[in-house]
Each structure stands twice: as structure tokens, then as C-alpha cells.
């Protein structure tokens, strides 16, 4: 029988600006917290999957898998997973698969990224490396630029405007106000979003997630290990799905949707034996305001073309029918890219366990979903978390 995978412990550093801290140091902190939270010991960890995107670029440090394990005090096979901004979502998925395959009972997953030691221009260039180097980067495509291409085509096809997008940013900042781990614990207004300095049309500064430093980690264990060792691990990862697509946006079947996320969601729902209507709370990859819109459509919460009004109508706010990004999302919590997927697991686990600052808003929630995307969603990992005890 395939083992059910439990989230025994989670941890993350506060996200924000700590340019002096190396990725290894940040992952070490997050892993230490996760191991402590899980009530396991480092010698019980049998494998490590660590997400990191731009280590070579930002800190001239490749080969970060063993470095991450070392920082966690773990001596076990360790592999770095790189799928751009979906790196640690993919690392989580690798851990889930390893336990389900019966090859391990305790796996440490997560990731870290150091970004703010770079200038804005360097960081922009580093992030752009997630796009097609020949056919996009050579033409001057930036990461926000690529999402702007999607947003403007979306507006053309379905309607919607900058103000609709501004409500996504306002919502996610609202959610982060009391989250001590978030980079921006402050409210913003629609006017402030609309009046911000332009990055690339239609995005102003507040449509974009920030450059951030941070680490995240989770200890995944088999159900049997949790029982045998008396671990309190009420949350399980019951479904996981991943999708890929052409790296260049122009080669995709759709540039107003995210087909890789459609596929990842379909797989994850099938794996968990649930559907979109069963989801009580979601953490989605809002690297830009429009990215949240595209995510909630791909996840089946909204029809194509209808997600644009969700935040503005209040349906995805903290007191809405389906709260999205109660952590503050990438927008306000911050986006140290290699740590983001792991941080979604950390925040969602706390939301479901009841020890997140925003847990009271979803006190009856039993099903949570995380959506972690890489590049302009050439990679997407969706994980389903459920309260099983």
C-alpha cells in the first residue's frame, strides 16, 4: 500500500531583505525550525530535496544540495531541484514521491534564495534567466514584461483593467498585515497601486512581488513513521501534480491562460480524489497581480476570463468564500524564488493546523491547495494538503 505523506514539521525565515545572509544560512534556520517542529532528529532524515534558482548568479554558489543538507545538520543524499520559481514546490513533490515509493520515511524538503545582494538591474537579469534565452531574453523580455504580455492579451480577450489587478495587491497586503514572517506588513490602497512608478505596462511597482531573501523547509514523513514515533502530524499531502510547457510564452497553446497549471491542477485533484469545489483555502503564485488571476482560473475556481473580478468582489479576501493567499502571497509575504514553494507548504500547514496568525479566518478548513509556478508558468506544481486527524 502506498504510504500517506504527512507534514510533520515546517519552518521558514522571515522573508525580506537580509542581503548579508547566504542561502545556506537561511535554509539552515528554516530546516532547524522544521526539524524541531516535527520532533525528529537530523539523523532520522533519509533524503533532502532543496530548491534554489539563481545561486550561481547571486552568490557564485552552485551545487547547493549538499550545502543545504550540511546546513541542516543532515548527512543524507541531497539534491538541488531547479525549476525557476517553482523549485521548492518541485522539491516538495520529489519528497512526496520518495515516501510514497517506499524509499524513505523521513525527507527534508524546502529551499532558499538570496536576491537582495544584487542591484535591481542584476536581479532583473537573474530572474529573466527563467525565460527563453535565445528567443525572449535576447529581445529584451523581462520577467514582469512577460507577465505584462499575458495581462494585456487577457484584457484584450476578456476585458478587465489595471484597477481589477490592483485589488489583488491590496488584498494580499491586507492579509500580510499581521504576518510577522511577511516582507510587507502594511496596507496599501488601490490608488497607491495605480499611482506607483511604472515597471512595464500595465504593471506598476505594486503589481510586482519584491526581490526577497529567505528560506523555507518542511519535514515530510510516512504515516507509519508518524504513528511509530508518536508524532503529531495532522496534515497530509494527499495530492501532487506538475505540468510543463514551452519555455517561451509565444510558443504556448494559450497566452491568456497557463496550460501547465491546468495540467498540474488536474493531476493533483485526481491524485487527491477531490475537485476545485472541495478546496477551502489556497496559496497561489502571485508573482504579479495577474498571475493570481490566471492561477485561480487554472485551478478551476473560476472560468477562464472570470478570475479578474475575484479580488475586487471580495470573493478571495480573508472573509470571502475562498480566501486566497492568506499569508500575503508572494506579493506581500515576499518571493525569495527558490524558497517560495516550500513557504507555501509551511504557511498552509499552519493555516490548517490552527497556528497561523490568520487561521481563525479558516477555522473549519480541511482542504488547502498550493500552486507554485516557474517562469511564465512553463513549470507548475500543485499540492493538496488535507487535515486527516
Amino acid at each position: 500500500m502506498v504510504s500517506q505523506v504527512r507534514v510533520a514539521g515546517v519552518g521558514m525565515t522571515p522573508f525580506g531583505k537580509s542581503p548579508e545572509r547566504s542561502a545556506r544560512e537561511m535554509f539552515g534556520d528554516a530546516a532547524d525550525e522544521a526539524i524541531e517542529d516535527a520532533a525528529v532528529t537530523p539523523d532520522q532524515v533519509e533524503e533532502v530535496f532543496y530548491g534554489n534558482f539563481m545561486g550561481e548568479f547571486a552568490e557564485q554558489q552552485g551545487h547547493q544540495g549538499p550545502l543545504a543538507a550540511e546546513a541542516a545538520g543532515v548527512n543524507a543524499p541531497a539534491t538541488r531541484i531547479e525549476s525557476a520559481c517553482a523549485s521548492s514546490g518541485a522539491a516538495v513533490r520529489m519528497g512526496v514521491d520518495r515516501i510514497r515509493a517506499g524509499m524513505a520515511d523521513v525527507v527534508l524538503v524546502g529551499g532558499a534564495e538570496r536576491m537582495t545582494n544584487l542591484s535591481t538591474a542584476e536581479g532583473t537579469a537573474g530572474l529573466a534567466a527563467a525565460a527563453d534565452a535565445l528567443w525572449e531574453i535576447n529581445q529584451g523580455v523581462t520577467f514582469p514584461g512577460a507577465y505584462s504580455l499575458m495581462a494585456n492579451r487577457y484584457f484584450e480577450k476578456y476585458g478587465g483593467d489595471r484597477e481589477d489587478l490592483a485589488h489583488v495587491a491590496v488584498k494580499n497586503h491586507d492579509h500580510a498585515v499581521n504576518n510577522e514572517l511577511a516582507q510587507f506588513q502594511m496596507e496599501i490602497t488601490v490608488e497607491k497601486v495605480l499611482d506607483a512608478v511604472q515597471v512595464c505596462s500595465p504593471f506598476g511597482l505594486f503589481d510586482c512581488s519584491p526581490m526577497s531573501d529567505g528560506g523555507s523547509a518542511a519535514v515530510l514523513v510516512s504515516e507509519e513513521f508518524a504513528q511509530d514515533h508518536g508524532l503529531a502530524a495532522p496534515v497530509a499531502i494527499t495530492g501532487t501534480g506538475q505540468g510543463s510547457d514551452s519555455l517561451a510564452l509565444h510558443d504556448r497553446e494559450s497566452i491568456t491562460g497557463t496550460p501547465a497549471a491546468d495540467r498540474a491542477a488536474e493531476s493533483a485533484y485526481e491524485d487527491a480524489g477531490i475537485g476545485p469545489d472541495d478546496v477551502d483555502v489556497a496559496e497561489v503564485h502571485d508573482c504579479f497581480t495577474v498571475a493570481e488571476v490566471l492561477a485561480i482560473e487554472s485551478l478551476g475556481f473560476y472560468e477562464k476570463g472570470e478570475g479578474i473580478k475575484a479580488a475586487r468582489s471580495g470573493e478571495t479576501t480573508i472573509d470571502g468564500d475562498l480566501p486566497v493567499n492568506l499569508s500575503g502571497g508572494l506579493k506581500a509575504k515576499g518571493h525569495p524564488v527558490g524558497a517560495t514553494g516550500g513557504a507555501q507548504i509551511s504557511e498552509m500547514t499552519k493555516l490548517l493546523r490552527g497556528d497561523h496568525v490568520n487561521s481563525d479566518a479558516v477555522s473549519d478548513a480541511t482542504v488547502g491547495l498550493t500552486h507554485n509556478a516557474g517562469g511564465t508558468v512553463a513549470s507548475c506544481v500543485v499540492n493538496v494538503l488535507e487535515v486527516v486527524e
Partner: protein
């Protein structure tokens, strides 16, 4: 960096050469899908047998954005307009040049060309409104 110093990217630079020689092409798969080089198989169907076909003369802008914040390679080019244009069965990304960004519209007809960036002098794909 001059062309003499830069190592070519086969497929990509071959395409730019062809555009400069007024013989732009794309790769057509057996199912009719259009792609840019280098490719051996159609990534959607998995089919082999991609063949060079002449690129249609006129493309249409599907979407565009004016970039104000760039990486170092385009620092002296900002603001600039990046667009995705559709030339029959193939789509590609390039910059719309020679017009005020406010005058570029989705749906506009364009011709393909090759120009050089202000910042590095590297070649890039450009779309000229017609």
C-alpha cells in the same frame, strides 16, 4: 561585443541572418504547427520532419508591453516595446521600433526585421508597423 568575438547560437543566428537576407523562414511540422529553430521535433505532436518554409510577409501584434525597468543588457534601450506577433502558424517575440509606444496597438500589422540594441549592439528581432 562585436560579432567576431561572440560565439554564434546555431538556429537562432541562422534565423537572424535569413531575416537580414530578406528570406525569413520558420519550421513547419507535419501537422502544420509553426516553430522557430533549432528544433528536431514538433514539441506538441512529437513529430519529426520539420521543414523550413518562407515566413509570411505580414504578422499581427497579439500583445505588447512597454518596458521601463530592464536588465543591464537593455539599460540604454528603455523604454522599449516588446511584443508577440503572429506570422501565420508561427509566433515570436520582438521589439516594436521606430514608433511612439503610445501609437502601437494590439492587432497592428507588422513586418519582421533585425536591428541592434542601443546598449550592447547585439542583434534582435524587430517588428516594423506597416
Amino acid at each position: 561585443m562585436s560579432d567576431e568575438e561572440r560565439v554564434r547560437d546555431s538556429g537562432y543566428d541562422d534565423f537572424l541572418d535569413a531575416v537580414e537576407e530578406n528570406e525569413p523562414f520558420y519550421l513547419r511540422g507535419p501537422s502544420g504547427n509553426g516553430w522557430l529553430p533549432p528544433r528536431i521535433r514538433d514539441p506538441v505532436t512529437g513529430e519529426r520532419g520539420l521543414e523550413e518554409e518562407p515566413l509570411p510577409d505580414t504578422g499581427e501584434i497579439l500583445t505588447m508591453t512597454t518596458v521601463h525597468v530592464s536588465g543591464p543588457s537593455f539599460a540604454d534601450d528603455t523604454p522599449y516595446v516588446v511584443a508577440i506577433a503572429e506570422f501565420g502558424p508561427v509566433r515570436m517575440t520582438g521589439q516594436v521600433r521606430g514608433v511612439d509606444p503610445d501609437d502601437v496597438e494590439i492587432g497592428q500589422s507588422v513586418e519582421i526585421g533585425v536591428d541592434r540594441t542601443e546598449t550592447t549592439g547585439e542583434r534582435l528581432v524587430v517588428f516594423d508597423p506597416i
